[in-house]
């Protein structure tokens, strides 16, 4: 093994991370190579030299600042739990409200089927029932019902007499005053 390879392996050698044969190779090389011996020593000395960089004390104000920030953190924690739950409830309530409003509006907007459509959609009209209930129908319903009866040929379509014919009939009925 050359010096470069040996020097790359020296940190692992110092860590005790090499296998038996690698350790043997390095130790044999160190016995005969001054440069690698120097490097081996330099590695250890440099690592030990780092100890000169001592720890520094923490500023006292920093500790006080941390402790003073704790209550707000606890509030924020609860807010983090409560707010999403409240928001979810509002959303669910809002959606429910919206759907129920849309449903009622749809029902109000639904067109009332015209009598003609009714007859087309409901061909099986109970004629007896219709006739029996004629007396309780309102005017419009009455005429609508009459139309229905005409359509189903229950009532004959009677042409309205013209005005002239009506007058003639009247005049023939007139009794001359004596």
């Amino acid at each position: 093994m050359g010096c470069q390879k040996i020097q790359e392996m020296l940190p692992a050698y110092q860590d005790g991370a090499l296998n038996g044969s690698e350790v043997k190779d390095i130790e044999e090389h160190l016995l005969v190579c001054k440069s690698c011996r120097n490097m081996n020593r330099a590695l250890k000395e440099a690592w030990d030299a780092l100890e000169i960089w001592d720890d520094v004390d923490v500023p006292e104000r920093s500790r006080k600042t941390i402790v003073s920030r704790l209550p707000e953190q606890r509030k924020m924690y609860w807010a983090k739990i409560v707010l999403p739950v409240a928001a979810a409830l509002v959303i669910v309530f809002g959606i429910t409200l919206k759907f129920s409003w849309m449903k009622s509006e749809r029902q109000m907007q639904m067109p009332v089927p015209a009598p003609a459509q009714l007859s087309a959609e409901q061909p099986d009209i109970d004629e007896d029932d219709l006739i029996a209930n004629l007396h309780i129908l309102q005017d419009e319903e009455f005429y609508d019902s009459l139309e229905e009866l005409v359509k189903i040929d229950y009532l004959p379509l009677v042409e309205e007499p013209k005005q002239e014919e009506t007058d003639k009939e009247r005049s023939s009925l007139d009794v001359p005053l004596t």
Binding site: E8, A12, A17, L43, E45, A46, L50, V58
Partner: protein, 185 residues
């Protein structure tokens, strides 16, 4: 009997501020010094220490001990440190790492020895600060926090072999940078 860090976390969850203060006392110095050595700026180190412990406090509600407490704690510090580096880079602020030199503790040394020691310290700090970021973090955790390679790997989110490689390469770089310097101390 002294409460373990994990037991203290359980007490903090119950709202025990005293438990939090005890945890803070136990770890504030190591957290502060990790950030200070890595970033080289006392203000940034102070911010990171505060944010780390606020996160610890908030996380106490959901904390589940899956690893050593310090592994989890240092992972928070490491992440915050790298965030600061990223924001520094995006703001194009050149870190003047070598400008920060902690004050020497009072020692009974003669002036010549003190000057020499101060120069050695400056050289050591500069050499560590010149290491690539991941290498520097691995060296700091290994040298100043006595962490094993597997713990460092967990903190840094890499393999144990990657940590070994970083530390070994860093040792070679430092040996070249600090050649002969330790004999002056």
């Amino acid at each position: 009997m002294e409460e373990t860090d994990i037991a203290l976390m359980a007490l903090i969850k119950e709202g025990e501020v005293k438990a939090f203060e005890l945890l803070l006392s136990r770890h504030q110095k190591s957290v502060y010094n990790l950030a200070l050595r890595f970033l080289g700026d006392p203000d940034d180190a102070e911010d990171i220490m505060q944010n780390t412990f606020i996160r610890v406090y908030k996380a106490s509600q959901t904390y589940t001990p899956e690893a050593k407490f310090t592994t989890w704690l240092y992972t928070i510090v490491k992440n915050l440190c790298f965030n600061v580096l990223r924001s520094r880079r995006s703001a194009e602020i050149i870190s003047m790492d070598s400008e920060y030199l902690p004050e020497l503790p009072a020692r009974t040394e003669d002036p010549i020895e003190r000057i020499s020691r101060s120069q050695v310290r400056e050289t050591v700090i500069r050499a560590v600060n010149n290491l690539p970021e991941n290498m520097k973090m691995a060296v700091i955790l290994s040298k100043y926090h006595d962490l094993q390679y597997d713990e460092i790997a967990a903190i840094m989110g890499c393999t144990v072999n990657a940590v070994k490689l970083r530390v070994h390469r860093a040792k070679i770089i430092l040996a070249k940078e600090l050649k002969g310097i330790s004999r002056e101390t």
